[in-house]
Symmetry: D2
Subunit: 99 residues, 4 copies
């Protein structure tokens, strides 16, 4: 199954991911307002942690969809495509765990 | 020293924090574009990790400034103000470590 | 393929995982010695971070092997076994990312 | 106040830290047994996450005590000692957040 025929796992929840990323964009603007208004450091840090968790949950969702679709399709296909997809998934997981 | 007289540590680097948060806002928009254009999951995850690290470094900077100013001022002042500030700092650190 | 016939991915590198976990056990003892000898907090924290990273890399290795064997086998098998294995993998990844 | 006169913050809870680290050492041995007995990867990963969280909470405890004692003492003392202690604390926090 070539890259083009394959539909990425997250497409079915595309609207939801766009909504969540829009909210995260809003959080980034909110942080700028807090710094602009010279709010207390700890209150800004609390918002940064909330935004980090929101990003993390988007990432975990995308990863779950990727495993369920791209990796499963490649596993069934076998061969080099399988190895590439699995290596990509493991590298993405390592980046997430270490960030 | 009351909350108002005290200037938060990050104020001296306010412009820099605003610039970095503006960039993070741009990354949030970039992620929306990638999802809109149905880009490959792994490429989106790579950007999410980059954005998470950018947020993390803003948080570590704010925390360092908070320790160097708000916590030091309170330590010198002593008493309840010191205890409050230290508890706030430890809780903020825990949130960061666990997010 | 039932649980028993299936050999877990990590078995081929069993000796390596045992060696790494043995070293981590040694790090835990080393931390106890540092506390016993009332070493400086920051030096102890440096060792805790090193031990955390060692644990993290064992986890990422096990996860990679799990994806490459258990999840791939289940993906090929399809059906409920696939869904169970994928859910387990995603939950394990979430625990790692959030710890 | 020289390094020797100063008592590190965690000394008052030394027995508790030794107990927690002893338990973490036991978890490391438990993981070796699970690998030895070729337990299921996901079950091992669950234990690794639990051990990581236990380590994290030891680190956050030590850091809190360090701030409350070593950093506060240095803040009151002021000058170079203060700057050194604050830099050490921020670097330790960054290592924890990034591990």
């Amino acid at each position: 199954m070539s890259e083009q025929d394959h539909q990425h796992g997250y497409i079915d929840s595309k609207a939801d991911y766009l909504k969540r990323l829009k909210r995260i964009e809003g959080q980034a603007r909110g942080l700028q307002r807090m710094v602009e208004e010279e709010k207390y450091c700890i209150d800004i840090l609390t918002q940064v942690s909330a935004m980090t968790r929101a990003l993390q949950s988007v990432a975990l969702g995308l990863l779950d969809e990727h495993l369920n679709h791209c990796v499963v399709d490649a596993a069934v296909q076998g061969g080099e495509e399988k190895d590439i997809k699995l290596k990509e998934a493991s590298d993405a997981i390592a980046r997430l765990v270490r960030s």
